[in-house]
Symmetry: D2
Subunit: 149 residues, 4 copies
Amino acid sequence: MFSVSITPRVGETDAMGHINNCVAPIWFEQGRTPLFRIFDPNLDFNHETWHLVMVHAEYDYVEQIYCRSVVEIKTWVSHIGKKSFSLKHEAWQEGRLCIKCGVVFVYYNFITQKTEPIPDNIRSRLEQHLITINKEQLTRKREKVKRNR
Amino acid sequence: MFSVSITPRVGETDAMGHINNCVAPIWFEQGRTPLFRIFDPNLDFNHETWHLVMVHAEYDYVEQIYCRSVVEIKTWVSHIGKKSFSLKHEAWQEGRLCIKCGVVFVYYNFITQKTEPIPDNIRSRLEQHLITINKEQLTRKREKVKRNR
Amino acid sequence: MFSVSITPRVGETDAMGHINNCVAPIWFEQGRTPLFRIFDPNLDFNHETWHLVMVHAEYDYVEQIYCRSVVEIKTWVSHIGKKSFSLKHEAWQEGRLCIKCGVVFVYYNFITQKTEPIPDNIRSRLEQHLITINKEQLTRKREKVKRNR
Amino acid sequence: MFSVSITPRVGETDAMGHINNCVAPIWFEQGRTPLFRIFDPNLDFNHETWHLVMVHAEYDYVEQIYCRSVVEIKTWVSHIGKKSFSLKHEAWQEGRLCIKCGVVFVYYNFITQKTEPIPDNIRSRLEQHLITINKEQLTRKREKVKRNR
């Protein structure tokens, strides 16, 4: 599991005094930067080195986040397919789980503009960060979150 | 249905040359500004006038979007509950459906920090923008989108 | 002179209830998109087609901007040098001049990573948008702005 | 002098492969967060606690910044007036001075919507971060920067 600390920015608040919900995707993107280095070690981030396209993202906003203190973004791999993989993220502030996120990426060749199978060396590195939760655990976890709301 | 035209900004591209996926939530937020005026007619946007909190959002990234031309954001109400309602959005560029989005808002009192039932006058205005698609239509629509990919 | 209308976004406010000052550079960038098309007509925006690097920008924040109404961004060319040119921008909301901006770009070859003289055909198109204000006019204009504050 | 480390975000790049110039103001805003705590210790950031309005900002873009490595934002107080004060910022990446910035804030009462003198207790804390460079030093510093370009 990756953990990245983010200091909220003043401009990330909105007129309601909390962090605007559109900021979440950007923070989770930052949370997965260490994982991006598995694919593009130096983050050269060009059409030769970059191979990821996001195809799905979802966010559950559980609690409001404020500017006043650090936010921890936790990131793990939840599924690895042939050409795609899924990540889970959580944003925590002051001991509260504030946002849950799931995203799906496909492995993509920007030169041919086609999807490709995930190379084996990358797959094995992704597997080191794979955490699968069985349905029973998930139900218990969700009930706990509900009680804490 | 609301339709809002957005001119992509140079800084909304990323190093892949396309619009960065984190921009989508911001564009859809802009797409729902006319709908926000149902709740807060002058967009005064303070703790007395504002009553919306996003609790869920999901995005399907179907096609890449580029900086070169206008993007149309379509917005409609897909469900109205007692204290919450759901919206659907689509982002279209050059005749291509590029991103699909669904969001859920709860009606919220920022002073008491509690959810409240949606007032009747607002409910009836939301209903004017309600479009429900039955499952059969949805399946056909999804197949059509797949064929066009 | 170019004029571009911008609808403020909810997420562009900050906790003070006004538009955050960091939004100004992004809006002025959008204001100069029609001018960018002089350099890169289809906004292909790649290392072959793009030739602009910003070297200086300055902003005077005169009045607060709010989310509630459209903002007009006015843009003109204020100086054309051999390898660089300057633009002026103004942001107006509800008849109030809110932000003044000046930026300097150099003509830049992203492949050789070197500055180059502005080509003649581009220079002549820039000249069509050139507005120079002499010092006397500027003083009078500034006094008028002060009186209106 | 304050120093804050910033990890560039993928979405902060643009199609040129470098960090978009509109990101600079946001990073410098983050750089001055420790200084904001002099004014609003818990960053409650509401109309009672917040007293700052930016009136001027300027940026010199010296070198391109890339996504691949951490950026250091250095911040110091350069001038303290009766109702306003000035800050200087620098953004450094991989030993290169990339952006220089100067900003001016006024002390502002958001409830009366009027400027006010900076309170003495805040003034004395600002003075601890005051660095003034005389003109001779500045000229030498600028020549050094030029030589390193």
